[in-house]
């Protein structure tokens, strides 16, 4: 009996990772405020739900963008027939402009260097197909997004070699770590074709500083390997320091531009994962030409290209959206991290992304992967929160967890925080501030705590909290 392919029967799809186990557990018992108040709260999904009302208003005011209204209907035929893999010019222009604005106007993007893909997922696979042959390798700093194991390797046959980053220096990507990984690849007889960095980082939620970026660019130039910058969280930088893109660094340092490629998407920055708007931006003409042909396997629906083109061409909307999004993320991040600190839970200092990198090392029975898995099972089954264990991100040190905060409403956030507080109290692992009342009046004290927090309003000129992004936006 002729079997199906090795690719189909193997587990290169990566779904046996604990990252997905938590999702599966969530799916069997999902939290709902009224129907299922004891269900599992999803904190493993890096989605941005904070700005939908803002975006929805625009969509309602612009029916022609959705091909309704008389003007819209007239465009239906032309749109429905448009399958040119170059993509609609107005779509590429609008996205290029948006990318520039997200980088504070410090760099301009050429619409003709944009190639569409089926989300960032499709973009990563496409880049791997263009740059590497089966058996060749990419270096990827750890911890990294679990999906890369599938996206870069599954159907391409490309290998990933981790660049191990450590908590002792806040997981910085040092030249030393890069060199070590490169040598390891050589020892394993793997030809390294490129380095993939995610900036802002998933799962860390921080950005690469200028020196690190320069070090990276020097490294890839010296080794003559490609640099792929996944910048899908670029617009989620809600606080200083300011985001520095690879596109800016290559203007400042010597660099072979043919080695530079950026992966982008609207799934995180705008909260549109369903629309599958991904792209590859390459400074290499041959890669562009090849990628464009490959994009046939995952073009953006012309209906969606039309909507996005209209939306992102509206300068007023885009400028307001970028500010609003930062503001919402800043508030949510601040409240969440503050609440956690009240029960002695710390996280890596972060200024971007839709999640925090939570430090639960001191809750581990021992510094092992098994202990991390035990703790994780407790968090899912007893605390009823789906969080993602650091091991699923290939973190070299047990005890770290990625916890998402932007994919829920305020009420759900409160419930999640209450559960965390309860758990910490029960385990007596944290220093409990005196203000906290006894367990029986937890609810009351909790809401009072929120009032405490909110009274130190970030809008107040006397706020002890770090700068609101609104201050930043003026520059």
């Amino acid at each position: 009996m002729v079997a199906i392919s090795k690719i189909a029967t193997g587990d290169g799809h990566g779904e046996n990772s604990p990252y997905f186990d938590g999702w599966k557990a969530y799916e069997t018992n999902p939290f709902h405020p009224t129907d299922r108040p004891d269900g599992i709260i999803q904190m493993g999904l890096a989605e941005n739900e904070l700005c939908f009302n803002f975006i929805k208003k625009w969509v309602m005011k612009h029916p022609e963008a959705s091909l309704c209204s008389a003007q819209g209907v007239n465009k239906f035929k032309e749109t429905a027939l448009f399958q040119d893999y170059h993509g609609m010019p107005e779509f590429r222009q609008a996205v290029a402009k948006f990318m520039g604005k997200v980088r504070g106007g410090r760099v301009e993007f050429d619409p003709d260097r944009i190639v569409m893909s089926g989300g960032a997922t499709g973009a990563h696979e496409m880049v791997a197909f263009c740059l590497a042959d089966p058996g060749e390798a990419f270096l990827v700093p750890t911890p990294y997004y679990p999906g890369f194991d599938r996206d870069l390797r599954w159907r391409t046959g490309v290998e990933l070699v981790p660049v191990v980053c450590k908590s002792s220096n806040d997981f910085k990507i040092t030249t030393n770590a890069l060199e070590t990984a490169y040598e390891k690849a050589k020892e394993d007889n793997l030809k390294v074709k490129g380095l993939l960095v995610t900036n802002p980082s998933n799962p860390l939620g921080n950005i690469l500083d200028r020196d690190t970026l320069k070090g990276i660019v020097e490294f890839i130039n010296e080794k003559n390997i490609h640099l792929v910058g996944d910048e899908i969280y670029a617009a989620t930088v809600f606080m200083e320091p300011e985001f520095v893109s690879i596109s800016e660094i290559i203007e400042e340092v010597e660099c072979k531009r043919d080695l530079i490629h950026i992966v982008y998407s609207l799934s995180k920055d705008m909260g549109f994962p369903g629309f599958r708007v991904g792209l590859v931006y390459s400074y290499n003409d041959s890669v562009l030409s090849c990628a464009r042909k490959m994009s046939s396997f995952g073009l953006v629906s012309s209906q969606t290209q039309h909507l996005i083109a209209s939306m992102l061409s509206d300068d007023d909307f885009v400028d307001s959206f970028i500010v609003e999004s930062k503001e919402q993320l800043f508030r949510r991040h601040k409240y969440f991290t503050w609440s956690l600190s009240q029960v002695g839970i710390g996280s890596l200092k972060s200024n971007a992304g839709l999640f925090i990198w939570m430090d639960l090392r001191k809750l581990l029975k021992e510094k092992t992967l098994e202990a991390e898995m035990d703790l994780w099972r407790v968090i899912i089954n007893e605390v009823k929160l789906n969080v993602s264990p650091g091991s699923s991100f290939h973190c070299n040190e047990p005890g770290w967890f990625r916890v998402c905060f932007a994919n829920m409403d305020d009420h759900t956030m409160e419930v999640a925080l209450l559960r965390i507080r309860t758990f910490m109290l029960e385990h007596n692992k944290a220093m409990v501030p005196r203000k906290l009342c006894s367990q029986s009046s937890l609810k009351l004290s909790f809401s009072r705590r929120r009032d405490d927090f909110m009274s130190q309003s970030i809008m107040s000129p006397h706020s002890p909290l770090p700068q609101s992004p609104l201050v930043q936006a003026r520059t």
């Binding site: 969509v59 429905a80 399958q83 089926g118 997922t121 490129g194 909260g271």
Partner: protein, 470 residues
């Protein structure tokens, strides 16, 4: 300078084929009724532009579907966040019903066995990744859609071995042709993983007979390999015989739930039947749940936009609309084909008898200078550059017999079609004039200069061509 992959540096993307060169030529000089009446008329694009008025009135009556509302309430957020690779259930349910309707409800499909993909392009590639390893082979009857060379082979590393079909029997698949292809594969040390057919056929425009499907099922059963049936044109069968899907034949042979049934997979899309190529709505249907599971995960690389899934779920759920659309579409296609055929007949050109698709398989063997592919290319170049019609030469579809061309008829206005026919008629009558001269005279003429008739036909373009290097 960093090296790229072998895939990036080779030309398995297939775009150096004449199929695409003709398109490029058209892009440089596209016909327009008003602004460029001497331009090249695109007859190489299998698109259906005949029924957009029906969509437009449906949209006006159903604004919620495009404005992302349900019962007047915005569901923008819900759709923007929907990225589940299982797909929108409402769309899958409506799609399987639509597919069943096209098959006169002789087959029922299970929505849990359908996988949504970004167009049939992605569906075909995904199935290759699921069913074959790098270096394995699939057998394909010729002539076949040129895009398969890219879709099935490029990134997958799978090989295609042709099953040669000829005009002597209307290009039908024969057992000896299949067996010969299978042996060819064995000689090359290739493991054959399956057969891929397109039914209705592109480029032939014909539906497969039950006997052919029966033959194929027996063959794959015997060899224990897969059968993929690309049925993207199933909704364009505008004349009898009615469309018979391989799934129907399996059912009639009482082979449901058997091993061979699990090895039959369909590819579908709304690009041809509903003329929505820009929306990238494709699908894989498999009876094998392992294939469904693997393909579902792979669809992450090319999901259908949720915005589009929602629109189509509304459209396809409107059974009254889909019935009217399909029947009106058939009527207009039938008429359009009739117009093309009668025009060609006047020019003494015949076509393969066809009952489906958006094109005709045109027999221009009698216009060739010799029974060779060089002669076919020569003729094609004249038709593209001098007659200014972009049609697709049979060789780009891997046809073994020179002289056949695919000519599309549904992607233009009635007016434009008539102009195309007139140009062809003029061309053919001018060739007829030449054919009265002796063969020898012709040879010596060619030795000295370009053909006089070309010179007569288009003085201007002749001089333009002299400057180009081709």
């Amino acid at each position: 300078m960093g090296l790229l992959s072998r895939k990036a540096s080779c030309n398995s993307h297939g775009q150096d084929s004449s199929y695409f060169l003709g398109w490029q030529e058209y892009e440089n000089n596209p016909y327009h009724e008003v602004t460029n009446p001497k331009g090249i008329i695109q007859m190489g694009l299998a698109e259906n532009q005949l029924c957009f008025d029906l969509f437009e009135s449906w949209l006006v009556k159903n604004p919620d579907a495009v404005s992302l509302k349900r019962d007047g309430k915005s569901i923008f957020k819900e759709l923007a966040l929907f990225q589940d690779y299982h797909g929108l259930p409402a769309l899958k349910n409506a799609l399987v019903d639509f597919m069943a309707e096209i098959r006169r409800n002789k087959v029922i499909f299970d929505p849990n066995h359908i996988v949504l993909t970004a167009g049939a392009t992605s569906a075909n590639e995904t199935l290759m990744f699921c069913l074959a390893d790098e270096g394995d082979a699939f057998l394909l009857p010729t002539p076949y859609y040129p895009g398969f060379d890219r879709d099935l082979k490029w990134r997958t590393g799978v090989e295609i071995i042709p099953i040669h079909c000829t005009g002597s029997n209307g290009f039908k698949i024969t057992l000896s042709a299949i067996e010969e292809a299978y042996q060819q594969a064995q000689k090359k040390n290739l493991t054959v993983k399956g057969v891929l057919i397109t039914n209705p056929s592109n480029p032939l425009g014909t539906t497969m007979a039950r006997e052919e499907l029966d033959l194929l099922i027996n063959f794959i059963d015997d060899k224990q390999i897969h059968l993929i049936s690309d049925e993207v044109y199933s909704g364009t069968v505008f004349n009898s015989p009615s469309f018979v899907s391989v799934m129907e034949v399996l059912k009639d042979k009482n082979l449901e739930k058997t091993q061979v049934w699990e090895r039959v997979h369909l590819v579908y899309s709304l690009s041809k039947d509903l003329s929505l190529p820009g929306f990238r709505i494709g699908a894989i249907y498999s009876n094998d749940s392992i294939v469904v599971a693997a393909a579902t995960k792979m669809s992450s690389f090319g999901l259908v936009s949720s915005q589009t899934q929602y629109l189509l779920s509304a459209m396809l759920s409107d059974k009254k609309f889909t019935k009217e659309y399909v029947s009106e579409n058939h009527r207009r296609l039938r008429q359009r084909r009739r117009d093309l055929i009668s025009g060609l007949e006047k020019a003494g050109i015949r076509c393969l008898d066809s009952n489906a698709g958006l094109f005709c398989w045109v027999d221009m063997r009698h216009l060739l200078n010799s029974d060779t592919f060089e002669a076919e290319m020569e003729l094609w170049e004249k038709i593209v550059y001098d007659v200014k019609l972009n049609i697709s030469p049979g060789s780009s579809c891997h046809c073994v017999e020179p002289g056949w061309f695919r000519v599309c008829f549904a992607n233009m206005s009635e007016n434009t079609l008539q102009i195309a026919i007139q140009r062809l008629e003029s061309f053919v009558s001018s060739i007829a004039t030449i054919n009265t001269q002796s063969h020898e005279e012709l040879k010596s003429l060619r030795k000295k200069t370009r053909n006089n008739w070309v010179f007569r036909l288009s003085f201007q373009s002749f001089h333009d061509r002299e400057q180009d290097d081709r």
